[in-house]
Structure formats: structure tokens, C-alpha cells
Symmetry: C2
Subunit: 200 residues, 2 copies
């Protein structure tokens, strides 16, 4: 049923799907779908939780690799952007569950998505700082800027395409944004010369 | 009436206000409010347009100053974050108008908010690159990462506070985030030594 829900949301580019749509797509009885998930929000929450669990187990794996914190950070940036791209509804789902449903659903999302991701950033930054690779950086502020920037490629894009003829997010745009974010987060926008001057 | 609407949204920390609330607060006749703005979305759009116009005229002023593009970029980062902080409803309003109302309202927001801001980034980046201060950076990707990161401090914050006991956005948090974003956007997270090594 989760697979059916996921496919439906991708097909329709929308999270507006009903329990009966899902029942029809999965071949299950509508009453059974209702029994399992309670209501539509329950199903959406279960779906997001499943996707989040996959992504978060990748983070643990990444942290354990014998590579530098800088290399891990770059892989992580690519990982977030690709996850949003692979599950285009994930971003809308997170926004919907956090802001438009009841507090219990929002608490769940915070617990299984926000908290583990923040914890990953905290550990990665601590590693990078202790190895002398990263500047001392507050993990909460870092989380906010990195996740906000990645999220906005998907959430903000259709506002931009309306305004400016910017096209939709394609494979190629994803690759460009990963490259852009790696460069920006690691080295900033200043040229080497300028940065050395600013540092005195 | 726009002032009344603005004050009401700040008081209630919500964009859920009705035309009759606004009429009551402003002392105007409810029919007059309706006549002026058509409906609630019309009023919200007018309010956002007024705030956006103020912020955008500041951008033109900033661009004309006799300071370096790097200094302009830093002032701009502080400007965005403070504008969101001053008008806490602005962020929710933009999301609401772009994603949950009709296409005409979303087109309006794109036209008076997204397009001019993107144009400002385009010109600022071109100046910075031609003066040798900035790396060559795609303006659309830059817009996405900067606006996404600033926006997320306000949009993502209550998800984080639920997950982790992170507090609300105060004056002090705003100042910290401005400092964090200036450092991150200008210089990135890598230490000087590490960056020189990465550059070969």
C-alpha cells in the first residue's frame, strides 16, 4: 500500500491522493487501508517514515566510512538533493505534515526525521573541527542553512519558473545544484585571493 | 487596513485572519474591506506586495552604494534575515500564496517578489565576478541556496524546536544566524589551510 501511495504521488506530482485511490491502485480493500493507517495523514506519515529510515541508515553508513569529514560532507550534500529528487513528494509531505496537520503528526516527523539528521550534522561537524578541516560551526545553524538550501530547490522552484522562465528540476539541474552547494558550503563564494585578504 | 492586517497577524502568530477581524481592528466597514480587496487572499497579496516593495527599494539603494560587492552581499544577507524577522508572517504568506492559492496570486508573488530579487542577485554576482571578488556562480542556483537557507530559519524552526528543544527565533538567534550565513556564504566551512590544500 505504501508503494501504491508513493507511485500515485509521483504520477500525479501531488500529495492530494485519497485512501480509496490507494486501495484501488494497490488492489487492497478500502476498509483495510483505513484499518491500517487510520486516515490519510496516517498513511502519509508511514510513507515518509519509511523513506526517512532508508536515508538515515545511509547517514550512519557514511559516518563510518574511512574518508575525511570534508568528503563525507560532500557526499551528504549530494545525498540530500538526490533523495529529494528521487521522492519529489517527500519535500511537500514534510511541509504538509509539519505545518498543516495536527501536532502529533508534526512531533512524529520531528522525531524520526529532524532529530536524527541534526544529530548526524552535530557528529560530522565535531569530527571535521577536531581534525582541523572545518571552522567551528554551530550545528543547529548549519542544519538550518544546509537543509533550507537543499529543500528550496524543490519547494521554491515553481515560483521561480513562473517569474523568470527558469525550467523545472531535471537530472542536469540536480547535478549542477549538487556541485554548486558543494562549492558554496565548502569554500564559499569569495575567490581565494579575496578570502586571504579578508582574513588579514 | 493593511496595517491592521499586519498587526493582527503578528499578534496571533498566524495568517489565519478573516476580513471581519480586519474590519473590526481597523474600524472600517466589513463591506468596504471586501470591496477593496475582493477576498482574504487579495488582502494578503496587497500586504505582501507593500512589504516587498519596501525591501526591494532597499536593494536598489544597496546596489548603488560605493562599497565592495562582498560588503553588499553581507548587508543583503542581514537584510533578508531581518526582514523575515520583522514581518514574521511574511514567510508563511509567501508559502501560502505560492502554493495554496490560485495560479494568478502565485504569478503575482513571482512577479513582484521572486523576479526582482533574482535580478538583484544576478547584478550583484556579475559585479563581484568582474571585480575578481566572487567565483563565477550561477545566479539561479545562488538565489535558491541563499533564499532557501534564510527562509528555513523561520519556516523550519518549529519543527526543530519540537525535535530537539531548540528555542524560538529571538533577536540573538537572528544575529547569530546572520553571522553564520555571512561566514558560510563568503568563506565556506573549510579552514583556510584545508581549502588551499583542496585547491591544490
Amino acid at each position: 500500500m505504501l508503494v501504491a501511495a508513493s507511485e500515485l504521488m509521483i504520477e500525479r506530482s501531488s500529495i492530494e491522493i485519497s485512501l480509496s485511490d490507494i486501495a484501488q491502485k494497490s488492489g487492497a480493500n478500502a476498509a483495510l487501508v483505513k484499518y491500517h493507517f487510520g486516515n490519510k495523514d496516517g498513511l502519509l506519515l508511514a510513507l515518509l517514515e519509511r523513506n526517512a529510515a532508508t536515508e538515515l541508515s545511509n547517514l550512519e553508513y557514511l559516518l563510518a566510512q574511512p574518508i575525511t569529514p570534508t568528503a563525507k560532507l560532500k557526499l551528504h550534500i549530494g545525498g540530500i538533493i538526490r533523495a529529494y529528487y528521487r521522492f519529489p513528494y517527500m519535500n511537500r509531505l514534510i511541509h504538509y505534515l509539519l505545518h498543516e496537520t495536527n501536532t502529533a503528526a508534526a512531533d512524529e516527523v520531528s522525531k524520526f526525521f529532524v532529530a536524527p539528521l541534526l544529530d548526524f550534522h552535530r557528529r560530522l561537524l565535531a569530527d571535521g573541527v577536531s581534525l582541523g578541516e572545518f571552522r567551528a560551526t554551530d550545528p543547529v545553524l548549519f542544519y538550518t542553512s544546509l537543509i533550507g538550501a537543499c529543500d528550496h530547490l524543490f519547494f521554491g522552484r515553481h515560483a521561480m519558473s513562473r517569474a523568470t522562465g527558469v525550467g523545472p528540476v531535471t537530472d542536469e539541474v540536480c547535478r549542477q545544484y549538487i556541485k554548486h552547494m558543494e562549492t558554496l558550503i565548502c569554500g564559499g563564494i569569495l575567490t581565494q585571493v579575496e578570502e586571504a585578504a579578508a582574513a588579514g
